[in-house]
């Protein structure tokens, strides 16, 4: 197979801050890129199948697997009784058995796992498993959970000022309820894991996971062995989006259990229906709020009770609820506030991380308040937002008392530039003129600013490691703790490594993420992948360069300590490229001088922490900013709507690799658009997911791509104390899509001028049609 270096032709020497091909571009386009299910497996490899609960909540009265076990081709049928270690797969709350014991808590919960020589035989065996469950009353909605006080964890509260007095004194008082729905990750590659038994009770597990270290820890716990006996490796995922942060551990641990029981390689691959039925999704949220605005649109008080549907187990729900609370302010200063969050336990799949991690659900509440206030006051949707931005002291304190540094707050600059470049005023006037003469089709324009906190809010997770190896021929292997799920992390890490070592990209091989290279890593999540791992890679490379510099000085016959340039595979005295020796020569010489050519790098984010009980602290290293202007067209007869143009200006600091970042912005926006306007999870009254495949669950398709999509990165905006002045990009653009709601409301509001629009989310054509009919009835 041909190979190609990930270069852009004509690029200057260091690849940093320059466009680049995705590290796997050619492998993707040639079909050569390998995902777990693509790996060749030895003959005798078994495939697994999960026997899942068909009941939302109940007591297991009978579970018999002998008949299934006796079928031809079936190697084993494992239940909780077959787990030698700890039957728990939760990330930290110890409330989530890998295989059900006595009771089941949701449809799709794993009860047993079958390994056989083919998927067909697994399915036959599943029919032979005798599973009888006595159904018990189940909590299947958020409202029911709230009514019955079915909680996970403790409430989390933030307060400032006198919210009741400020509300009472506000001329514009708004009370409302905001509901946002769940969302399936719909990574194109469903969950997959392959476990090989190795000698001395050890295991190699290949897993499609964002969190190899947690998969390692969970496999070890379930097997009852130390972590050093489990190696987990992840080359790439076919999409993750948070759905493979904790959920991959299930299938990896099951495969490892199978490998232990049978001493054969065991693989579990979920088909789409299984994946959607058995794994967690974005948390649905419900919030009740009271907002008080001054007559000029200033937000004076904001009181919110916010509830997250955690599903049957805690998983990451409390952290997700925290991030929702941390983003109830979005970009706006709120002088008087009380926010209280509660996580609810229901008998649905356990909801989990999904791009934004509660942030979108939190922001949706204040954006609803902003839209309603704008409509009540007859104010422009963009103007009311800009009126409330964080600013100079004292308007620079978040609800949790972190300073929003005015010097680094780029929102006014972004807003001014975006509205000017996108021709906001003229387009808005055109749209209002169009709407005035178009009875059945209306257009709308929605502006959306975003401020998003960067760091894991559980501060200990903000650490990363790297391991860089130089071989005596000058070729390099790069390892770090982050995982590649399509977001381009590896491309960025290659750019940093090439820059720091001064080698060509084709001299570096990016290795699969593996727990035997970098231990105790955090999930690639919270948009933190390149911030944390980039610093670790940088540190490892700097160590190596410091070791190589004296060797190079010797080869170049300059004083040790003389300034040297390492660049593009060459090393030369500063300003004298003609005297260069090759990096390979330096590496060879270092080997011959018995100098270590491998180094680790480590990074932890400084100065962050949060006091949960007080609701005060500095959970975030910094904030990412961006803004979008979304234009829509709405049909009054069908409710159909489409996004006709989107302009985005997003702040990624000094982009490490701008082409990758633009891709993240575009993809994040569309995924947010899907959540807000297309994707709807429908559950039966018995708690069975009705929309468990793409025939009924609609993610955005080609026809949903905006006709005109203009994405710009903010220029000349380096971020201090982040790797090479860059900023995180994975999650923030998702929330730019919230602007579609303002755009739809602008359009629908043309049927009921001067009155608030009542639009539910997701704003599917059905929901928009209801909102249009409601507006026309009132207008």
């Amino acid at each position: 197979m041909m190979t190609r270096a990930p270069h852009v032709e004509g690029a200057p020497r260091s690849p940093l801050h320059l466009p680049a091909l995705h590290e796997s571009a050619w492998l993707h386009a040639s079909g050569e890129a390998v995902y777990v299910d693509d790996l060749p497996t030895p003959p005798g490899t078994l495939v697994g199948y999960v026997v899942a609960s068909p009941v939302a909540r109940g007591r297991i009265t009978r579970l018999e697997v002998a008949a299934a076990r006796a079928l031809p081709g079936v190697a084993c049928v494992l239940t909780a009784a077959d787990i030698p270690g700890i039957n728990d797969i939760s990330p930290f709350s110890h409330d989530e058995p890998l295989l059900a014991v006595d009771e089941v808590f949701c449809v799709g919960q794993s009860v047993a796992v079958i390994f056989a020589d083919s998927a067909a035989r697994c399915r036959e065996a599943a029919k032979a498993v005798v599973l009888e469950i006595e159904a018990l009353p189940a909590i299947l909605t958020l409202d029911e959970a709230i009514a019955r006080q079915s909680w996970i964890g403790q409430p989390h509260t933030m307060r400032r000022g006198d919210v009741a007095a400020a509300f009472a004194a506000s001329p514009v008082q708004i009370e409302g309820e905001v509901r946002t729905g769940g969302q399936d990750h719909f990574y194109l590659e469903s969950h997959c894991a392959l476990a090989y038994p190795q000698e001395a009770g050890s295991y190699l597990v290949l897993s499609s996971t964002q969190h190899p270290s947690e998969v390692q820890a969970k496999c070890a716990e379930v097997l009852g062995i130390d972590r050093h006996r489990v190696t987990v490796e992840t080359r790439r995922m076919g999409g993750g989006f948070g759905g493979k942060e904790t959920q991959g551990a299930y299938f990896a641990a099951m495969a490892a259990l199978g490998a232990r029981a049978t001493r054969k390689p065991c693989k579990i691959w979920l088909n789409r229906d299984q994946d959607m039925t058995q794994t967690g999704k974005r948390h649905p949220f419900m919030s009740r709020y009271r907002a008080g605005f001054a007559a000029d649109g200033e937000l004076r008080s904001f009181e919110v009770d916010i509830y997250a549907d955690g599903g049957w187990s805690a998983d990451l729900t409390t952290a997700i609820l925290d991030r929702a609370l941390f983003h109830l302010d979005n970009a706006y200063f709120i002088p008087n506030l009380r926010f209280t969050g509660r996580a609810c336990r229901t008998h649905l799949v356990s909801n989990t991380a999904f791009r934004g991690f509660g942030g979108p659900q939190g922001m949706a509440v204040i954006e609803e308040a902003m839209n309603t206030a704008a409509e009540r006051l007859g104010m422009d949707y963009a103007a009311i937002r800009a009126r409330n931005y964080y600013g100079e002291s004292p308007r620079d304190r978040t609800p949790y008392d972190q300073e929003v540094k005015a010097a680094h707050n780029r929102l006014r600059r972004i807003t001014d530039q975006l509205l000017r470049d996108a021709d906001y005023d003229a387009r808005k006037a055109d749209i209002d003129a169009f709407n005035a003469q178009s009875p059945l089709v209306k257009r709308g324009l929605g502006f959306q600013p975003v401020k998003f906190g960067i760091s894991f809010t559980n501060s200990v997770l903000n650490q990363a490691g790297a391991f860089v190896l130089i071989y005596a021929d000058g070729s390099v292997q790069l390892n770090h703790g982050g995982t590649e799920m399509g977001q381009g992390l590896n491309t960025k890490m290659l750019a940093i490594c090439a820059h720091e070592l001064g080698v060509r990209l084709d001299q570096i091989r990016h290795m699969p993420t593996a727990t035997d290279k970098v231990p105790n890593t955090s999930a690639t999540a919270a948009s933190s992948g390149s911030d944390l791992n980039g610093m670790a890679v940088l540190a490892a490379c700097q160590t190596l360069r410091e070791r190589l510099a004296p060797v190079a000085a010797g080869l170049l016959k300059v004083e040790p300590g003389a300034a040297l340039t390492f660049c593009d595979g060459q090393v030369f005295p500063e300003g004298e490229p003609a005297r260069a020796v090759s990096f390979a020569q330096v590496a060879t010489a270092a080997y011959l001088q018995q100098i270590s050519l491998a180094a680790t790098g480590f990074y932890r984010t400084p100065d962050i922490g949060y006091d949960h009980a007080a609701g005060r602290g500095k959970p975030f290293h910094y904030y990412a900013y961006g803004a979008a202007l979304t234009e829509v067209e709405v049909n009054a007869l069908t409710g159909e709507h489409r996004v006709t143009r989107v302009d985005i200006l997003h702040d990624v600091g000094d982009s490490l690799v701008p082409t990758i970042d633009v891709g993240q912005v575009e993809g994040g926006y569309i995924q947010g658009l899907g959540w807000l306007t297309r994707e709807e999870l429908v559950w039966s009254p018995q708690g069975v997911l009705r929309t468990h495949s793409p025939d009924t669950y609609k993610i955005p398709a080609y026809g949903d791509a905006p006709r005109d999509f203009r994405v710009q990165l903010l220029q000349g905006a380096p971020q201090p104390d982040v790797v090479h002045g860059s900023k995180a990009v994975g999650e923030p653009p998702f929330m730019l899509a919230l602007g579609v709601l303002a755009a739809l409301r602008h359009a629908i509001g043309a049927w009921c001028p001067g009155q608030p629009v009542r639009l539910g989310v997701p704003a599917t054509p059905e929901a928009v049609l209801r909102a249009v009919e409601d507006a026309r009835a009132r207008g």
């Binding site: 386009a29 079909g31 693509d38 031809p72 990574y187 076919g238 789409r272 381009g488 990758i660």
Partner: protein, 169 residues
């Protein structure tokens, strides 16, 4: 129930390969697990995501809805057969340059749908591309870069045809 496996003779990317399949084995499964051509992906297993798209006698088909045995005697092309030896197909080249793949899992199916489109319609409009690719889902990109890449590949193919015509005349 055990179903007897039968021999299946498939012509894939110009080469004939034989494997044993059951009557229910899909072409997708035969390609991936019997012939080890894993570029064809299994995304939803029911014809709704397009990740398994291959060309059969030049037309796009969903390999997950095609039984392997029914594909015998026909010419199958997968993503592995898209490049001509060391020369990338203009679509592959454009996908690389435009960053049209992020996680890459949907990419092979999209490339095959696009290849069929450009074969049938060398200069499609953007709307025609959206229509032809309507059965392929991507969760990472937002589609814009894919559309840009296909338009670019159409122009590259056009230049290639012009060059070939000029060489003949």
């Amino acid at each position: 129930m055990q179903v007897k496996k039968t021999g299946c003779r498939l012509e894939v990317n110009g080469e004939v390969a034989e494997c044993l399949v059951s009557p229910m084995t899909t072409l997708c499964e035969a390609l991936r697990y019997e012939l080890r051509l894993t570029g064809t992906k299994q995304g939803c297993d029911k014809g709704d995501c397009g990740a398994c798209t291959v060309l059969i006698d030049g037309a796009p088909h969903l390999a997950c809805l095609t039984l392997a045995l029914t594909a015998q005697g026909r010419s199958i092309q997968t993503v592995e057969g898209l490049a001509r030896g060391a020369e990338a197909h203009p679509l592959q080249d454009a996908f690389d340059r435009f960053g049209a793949a992020q996680c890459g899992f949907c990419t092979p199916g999209i490339l095959m749908s696009a290849a069929a489109l450009l074969e049938a319609n060398p200069a499609p409009t953007r709307a025609e591309i959206q229509e032809a690719l309507g059965g392929n889902l991507c969760r990472c990109t937002g589609y814009t870069k894919i559309l840009d890449a296909i338009e670019d590949a159409a122009r590259a193919l056009d230049r290639r045809r012009e060059a070939a015509a000029a060489a003949l005349s």
